[in-house]
Amino acid sequence: MNHFPNIRFQAVLLLFTLTTCSLLHAQQNNNGGGRLTGNLELNANFFQRDTLIGAANTPQYDRQLFGGESWLNMNYNNWGFDIGVRFDFFHNSNIINPQGSFNGQGVGRWYIRKKVDKLGVEIGYIYDQIGSGIIYRAFEERPLAIDNALYGGKLTYDIAPNWQIKGFMGKQKQQFGLYDSVIKGASIDGFIAIDSSGLTLAPGIGAVNRTLDDATMNLLAADIRTYHSINSDFVFEPKYNVHAFSIYNNLTYKGFNWYVEAAYKTPEALENVIDTIPVTFINEAGTAIYTSLSYTQKGLGITAEYKRNENFVFRTRPQEQLNRGLVNFLPPLTRVNTYRMTARYNAATQFMGEQAYQLDITYAPIKKLLINGNYSDITDLDNQRLYKEYLLEITYKYKRKWQLIAGVQRQVYNQELYEVKPGVPNVETVTPYAEFLYKFTRKKSLRLEAQVMTVGTYIDPETQKKTRHDYGNWIFALAEYSIAPHWTLTVSDMYNVVPGKNSPTDSNGKKLAIHYPRFDIFYTNKANRYSLSYVKQVEGVVCTGGICRLEPAFSGVKMTITSSF
């Protein structure tokens, strides 16, 4: 449903409110009045067609040549009120659909918040979560075009010291419109410190309900009706209402921290992912459990995590796909890697069923030396391997002059499942890497990175020849020169040194060893940061916070501006 007229009205109202606030702000600045803050993020992409690497066949590469998006956020605080508005602009943007072109502009968010004694009131587009987000999380993740704000109201009430009850209701945002399902929920969160023993507890319980609108239910029922012609055993009566419950607690005692959350979701129509079931929807209840135990003391940090979820996809309507319409968030149990090669293969959360473990140990035997070891393992509920990673990293700092980081990563990545590429074997990688930072002076420094990714081999059933997994072996090198506080210049190249099964080919079918260079200039001036980059980027799965999507190759120039004021 299109809500543009409403949003225009809201925008005018908010602009009026903010303008009034600003005027008052100007008047009150002299006597310690309100505070107006904001930030701007702008991305501009210039697309340069490169069919060799697959940067082609989208509207931007074929004819539009330019696309971008920006967000302007403004917040005002005074008289106990928090007021904010965010303007979103998308022009021939590929951020929402990497294959498509999206145009739209308007108010992406507004909110008004006020605390009256023990009662907290918030209306507008609300970001929030219950527990770790397993049953409810409304959040924004711009790189993946996720904006799951709830458009509605939220009340909180301090029922006792350190105890708060929260309730909310609304509809989920869908770009500049809203989904029609209604979402409502409540939680109680507390904090208990047990005498002087050092033991603290932060327990909570939460519940969320989603009610489908009639149009969505009609769509669902129309689909289920056709199952009679396939096998009437698959026919079920879908529910308008689904309820999800969770109970959680965070316990701390001396160096220990133990978080645990368990959740249950009543049966609802879920999109079927089982090949042997020839219908679109199945009717299943969901369960999830997540726990994290960590221990820290001087020079040592150990964290162990476990997660199991089954049929725990929770969307504003069951027909939504990929990252759209998500009501909840399942925490990822893999290391957040930042180097170009170690972050190439990511494990996207499998909502319909996975079991994951992670162990992370950080040890500093001496002040100059830090050792990090990480192990993560993800399987489906039939124990089939989805992802496995071992990583060992050492950081050595020599005074303030130089720093060396060196590590090695080993991965097993189920490409067939994560990227839906039938018949391909698990990608097995070994990636040694090193980073060296040298400070010439207090202002001038040079950072060098070198990474090598080698992958396993298999007999390609098509050619009956030994072939390297996926794109084969890579080497990556980067040099970054910084002149503080303003300038950073970076040059890097990712080279497909030994091409693999999926590497681009020439017209004779010969695999090509292609360079993917990148040049960046960053300029920072106080709270403003500008960047200009020339980028050739291979296709890959991009993940943020456990949510991933397949990103096509990129070729062209990127410009970004971020500013805070």
Partner: protein, 285 residues
């Protein structure tokens, strides 16, 4: 703790105490509606166009095509299906015998917007309530076709193809019968050819690339002048029919016995591309 108990009790009530009246999930139209019946133009029911976008490299698309067949069994003549090979997954495999991509197919995909994923389809080129774009996910195809079938056709379309085996010349005579007065502003008609049962490579789940996949309803060409339809210049008055005729030479490598002619009347403005009625006949009767 007392508050906690109240809270749990309230939600237990919410989840168990409120029984819903479920939606009707009985078989559509009381059973199978797949029997194809020739009807007079005056008696033509509402017929809905579904344009599926697919590609030989799209592993999930066969599942969509399978659903299309189930839907054709359910809705019979009231569903007109075309599978357009265009977009990210449509380049042929090295081993493919054919390249199903066409300029018109690609132009139609760009005209109807790129989807966020495949399989995907556009039903009657309509932006449905609750959907973000014309391109809709497989799980919603049945529902939106149902929605469209509730309406009475505003115009009815008769297709009469004549094919000459000697010179492969095809003449398509069209009769349009409006059932209400309509403004002809932005109203167009499009005629296209599809071909059934072409066996070639396709990527499918588990097995990967297989050589003997049966491609159905493959879009071949738009035979009206423009890919987005030709203008209707006649006055569109209730009960007053008008006619059009198109000549086309069928390429040698298309099997005329597997080809069908599809015609539909639709709007063509930026904000409204909706199809009012569609019709399909075999190219060779």
């Amino acid at each position: 703790m007392k508050n906690l108990i109240y809270f749990l009790f309230a939600f237990a009530l919410l989840s168990t105490g409120c029984e819903e009246i479920p939606p009707d999930v009985s078989p559509p139209n009381g059973g199978n509606n797949s029997e194809e019946i020739d009807v007079n133009l005056e008696d033509q029911p509402r017929q809905v166009l579904i344009e599926e976008f697919t590609g030989v490299r799209c592993v999930n698309c066969p599942e969509g095509s399978e659903q299309l067949e189930t839907m054709l069994n359910t809705y019979g003549n009231q569903l007109v299906a075309v599978s357009i090979h265009a977009g990210f997954f449509s380049p042929p495999h090295n081993e493919s015998l054919y390249d199903f991509r066409t300029d018109d197919g690609t132009a139609i995909l760009n005209y109807l917007e790129q989807p966020i994923g495949f399989p995907t389809a556009v039903v009657d080129r309509k932006l449905f309530q609750g959907e973000a774009s014309l391109q809709i996910a497989q799980s919603t195809w049945n529902g939106h076709v149902d929605e469209q079938l509730v309406e009475e056709p505003k115009i009815k379309i008769g297709i009469d193809p004549t094919f000459s085996m000697t010179d492969r010349n095809l003449t398509v005579d069209l009769t349009f019968l409006p059932t209400e007065n309509l403004s002809n502003e932005d109203l167009r008609y499009t005629v296209m050819i599809t071909e059934n049962n072409i066996v070639d490579y396709q990527t499918i789940p588990v097995q990967g690339d297989i050589p003997d996949y049966n491609h159905k309803h493959v879009f071949r060409d738009v035979i009206t002048t423009n890919f987005d339809g030709d203008p209707i210049t006649e006055d569109i008055l209730d009960g007053f029919s008008f006619e059009k005729s198109i000549n086309y030479t069928l390429p040698e490598n298309w099997d005329e016995n597997e080809c069908t002619v599809i015609a539909f009347v639709h709007y063509s403005s930026n904000n409204n591309k909706e199809v009012l009625q569609a019709a399909e006949v075999d190219l060779v009767n």
